[in-house]
């Protein structure tokens, strides 16, 4: 397969970037999108040009490192898929593919397609953990958890922190990510002790990082590679309002 690629090139967070055109030919349809980028980069290196910087790690849809805004969609056109799980057979032969970084004030571009998503780490550090002793591994099995709640917590825990929700949202809102993390712990017995302070601190950090607010367009849910539901955002709102107004 042959493609015309328009790739965002930006030297660092300070400089202005622009789209640069590349042609790539003889692409195997079963290559992943990242493998196609590897092939392009090999060629650029051989030609003495600067390769395109992009993030990746596991290449199996679990680490959340790969990003890229492909043809106007976070992680490209496939539903429930990360960029590393996207294959070239999902595109038309001869297609022009535009590749941009995830754009958000809170995710500054490091270089080309690689953005700094440590804002998410700081939100997690503000409360996305259990800080009290909940016993040893075997104790987890001894704590009764209703199946329905366990399932909802598990669905929320599927969030890989990739930031596609932020990239897709017109406000660069991080509500889907934060709601997944807050829900995951609010639904489990282990999360109860810090339930209120967790949501208050995580939302405060989210606002401090410069993410926008939620207009409820639900673009995040549609683009999330893990299918995190916006009912989690309703839960986050509920948790935050309750924690704010709670008397103790």
């Amino acid at each position: 397969m042959n493609f015309k690629l328009r790739i965002w090139r930006q030297a660092d967070s300070k400089s202005n970037g622009k789209l640069v055109e590349y042609s790539i030919s003889d692409v195997n349809p079963d290559m992943s999108f990242l493998e196609m980028m590897d092939v392009l980069n090999d060629r650029l290196v051989k030609e003495g040009q600067e390769p395109v910087a992009f993030d990746h790690d596991c290449r199996e849809g679990i680490c959340g490192m790969c990003s890229m805004y492909i043809n106007g969609r976070a992680h490209g056109p496939m539903k429930l898929s990360t960029t590393c799980q996207l294959y070239m057979r999902n595109f038309e032969d001869g297609e022009t593919i535009t590749i941009e970084p995830f754009r958000s004030a809170a995710f500054p571009v490091i270089k080309d397609l690689s953005v700094d998503r440590t804002a998410f780490d700081r939100i997690i550090a503000a409360g996305g953990y259990v800080g009290v002793s909940t016993g040893q591994a075997q104790d987890a099995n001894a704590i009764p958890i209703e199946k329905h709640h366990a399932d909802m917590a598990m669905d929320a825990a599927a969030c890989i922190g990739c930031g596609a929700c932020v990239a897709a949202c017109k406000n660069s809102s991080a509500m889907l990510f934060v709601s997944a993390k807050v829900s995951h712990l609010a639904l489990l017995p282990q999360g109860q002790a810090e339930r209120k302070t967790r949501v208050l601190n995580m939302v405060e950090q989210m606002d401090e990082e410069g993410f926008g607010s939620c207009t409820n367009t639900y673009a995040c849910e549609a683009e999330c590679p893990k299918g995190i539901s916006v009912t989690n955002i309703a839960r986050l709102n509920r948790e935050y309002i309750k924690a704010s107004f709670s008397g103790d």
Binding site: W8, E100, T231, L236, S244
Partner: protein
């Protein structure tokens, strides 16, 4: 900052204010639409004028009117503050963005739709509210001001009817998203209630603007006299 200030200035708190004032406006419009619909009784406006007179003179209603204005003001100020903050959160725009693949245009256009409603509202208040409260209405034999005649005069003008239709259509789109959105903001959009909220929102967002749209149209074409 104390807890309440913190809540009100947080992103979720700001949206909570939007939702609360939005739903207050939704409730107000039910009353407003209900009373105005009395013109369809087609009695030369007697019933409508009497109801309007009551609404304009009753002390409880007049007090609630102050609350309504405060609510609208909060809704408008908060709307533009959010719009500015949200646009700052995305300084570099995408060269290619397929937003229609993941969301509806009207959910992304609440500020534009709200601005159209605001422009309409200014014209609307000048047409009726200013006249009935300040510059004075024509007298009727039964002691109420003749707001009905005022309506007939205003809605005899073609461009005014078109402006009203634009305002009302903007309202319909605003609420098609806004109604369910407010319940999401309150945290009530759970799996159990989502269907009900969506359905009620659609019914409201179509029915109320449709009734409002019928009023200037019916007067313009003199379906009611």
């Amino acid at each position: 900052m104390n807890w309440f200030g913190k809540f009100l200035t947080s992103s979720i708190g700001r949206k909570f204010v939007m939702g609360l004032t939005g739903i207050a406006l939704v409730l107000f419009l039910i009353v407003h639409c209900g009373i105005n619909a009395l013109i369809f009784v087609n009695d030369g406006g007697v019933l409508f004028n009497e109801a309007a007179h009551f609404m304009g003179t009753n002390i409880i209603i007049r007090t609630m009117e102050i609350g309504l204005f405060v609510g609208i003001l909060l809704h408008i100020v908060q709307a533009y503050m959010l719009a500015v903050a949200n646009s700052k959160a995305r300084p570099g725009k995408y060269q290619v963005n397929s937003a229609n693949a993941n969301s509806r245009w009207y959910s992304r256009s609440m500020t534009l739709l709200g601005t159209l409603i605001l422009l309409f509202l200014i014209i609307h208040l000048k047409h009726f509210w200013v006249v009935s409260r300040f510059t004075g209405l024509e007298e009727t034999s039964y002691g109420a001001g003749n707001l009905y005649i005022e309506m007939q005069e205003v809605f005899a003008i073609g461009w005014v009817v078109i402006v009203y239709l634009i305002g009302v259509i903007s309202l319909a789109w605003h609420l098609l998203h806004g109604f369910q959105s407010a319940f999401q903001t309150f945290g009530w959009n759970t799996l159990k209630y989502r269907g009900l909220i969506k359905c009620a929102g659609k019914v409201y967002a179509i029915l109320i603007p449709l009734l409002f749209a019928l009023m200037p149209v019916a007067m313009y074409f003199e379906w009611i006299k």
